[in-house]
Subunit: 254 residues, 2 copies
């Protein structure tokens, strides 16, 4: 009996939002210690996903939101014929599963890019907690809205940016998110394949490969398979806005 209790405690502790390393980056950010206990209670627990395994798929009924604890995921939609469009890559502290909030059915799919650990927030519980803790509600809304803005950026990128710009923006976004996680923003470990990157950016894999090589030749990057070092963050940043000069002149003229 005492044994079972201690196991439970350990489990509790391990999954407790208060003691989690992502505490400051995840939903609990800015929530009082008292309220945290309630949030803890709403978290069903951890779940571990192997590389390539699916967290939810298109059509699944909506049960929960999921926070990435460690590892990374990709989310994507798949058309009738089976080819996919990647919607996003998700690092620790980021939340996936919003897409089903409206219809109660997922309209996309989430898959682990590497062995990953996930916090499951069953929606029924979450709803209760959220309605009682305004700060948590606001935090959740902030996260969702960040997501919407991310999607807009993705669309703009698809529509207007050219290949080199796209990759630069992608890398800079990853770097920024690394920094938010207190990781070194100049040393990226790409958990996704070149195919995935190409797909996400609306390019083909050969183009990604050539761009990596070119950026390496330019002295911006040091690429070694999945490991990418950003040697010149300043130059990388300048590539992100490359084609904007023309646009601004256009507007001035009008």
């Amino acid at each position: 009996m005492s044994f079972s209790a201690s196991v439970l405690d350990l489990e509790q502790l391990r999954r407790s939002c208060g003691s989690c390393a992502l505490h400051e980056l995840c939903l609990p950010a800015g929530i009082s210690a008292d309220d945290l206990k309630q949030l803890d209670a709403a978290v069903r627990g951890k779940r571990t996903l192997d590389r390539g395994s699916t967290l939810y798929r298109d059509g699944d009924s909506f049960g929960a939101l999921y926070v990435v604890r460690s590892g990374s995921l990709k989310t994507f939609v798949q058309n009738e014929v089976g080819d996919q469009q990647i919607l996003g890559f998700h690092l620790p502290g980021e939340i996936v599963g919003f897409d089903a909030m409206a219809s109660n059915r997922h309209v996309s799919q989430a898959e682990a890019l590497e062995r990953s650990s996930i916090c499951e927030l069953p929606y029924a519980h979450l709803q209760n907690v959220v309605s009682e803790i305004p700060a948590l509600y606001r935090q959740l809304m902030r996260v969702i809205s960040r997501e919407v803005i991310e999607e807009h950026k993705h669309l703009v990128m698809m529509g207007k940016q050219q290949a080199q710009e796209k990759l630069a923006i992608f890398l800079e976004s990853l770097s920024d998110r690394y920094v938010r996680l207190h990781r070194d923003g100049t040393t990226l470990t790409l958990s996704m394949s070149r195919y995935d990157i190409a797909n996400y950016l609306g390019l083909v894999v050969e183009t990604i490969s050539r761009l990596f090589t070119r950026m390496e030749e330019m002295g911006i990057l040091e690429v070694n398979r999945k490991l990418v070092r950003i040697r010149r963050p300043d130059l990388l940043a300048s590539l992100c806005g490359a084609s904007n000069m023309a646009a601004s002149r256009l507007n001035d003229a009008g």
Copy 2:
């Protein structure tokens, strides 16, 4: 006194969801007559927008959702430099303004493409009504989720489809929505400019022009400025999936 009362009744009637031509296509779809009265009360009223005028802009605080009653809108995001990416075009019965539900700030802009009439649903009222009428809540969620799926399709189109396919898909989507409105799905009146279409599809205006010409030569369309007749819906449909053969073969091989 009797005069003022009759004016009020008239106004009530005119804006009443029950008597609106869009009744079956808009939020009230599938809602009982009793509940309709409550919904009516939540609608602040009509608003008329001239061509080019803005319904809400980036940063505006979130006050309401808006149903297009007549005319049409475009929604778009604008980056620092001022060039825009169109997110969608919105016909009667369609709802805009969701983008601010999470953050309470709009993160996009909505503008009338022609003289348009709009129903305003102040969010505070709507929240009350929605919480009391489950059917309305479900309907609202259905509409939002349709929106999310639309966005996914847009992204897929931007990423993978080529120019002719994009335009075909765009026209077919418009046609489908015309049919939903009980309009003739083969006679489209494009309220947006070629520039807007190009922007929406991630192309340049010259390409749109050439594609219209080409599709006319192929006997699929009959184009006359803003007026587009779909002569061969079957051929148009076949253009929508043009590049999918390759994809399916790829998958079969794997």
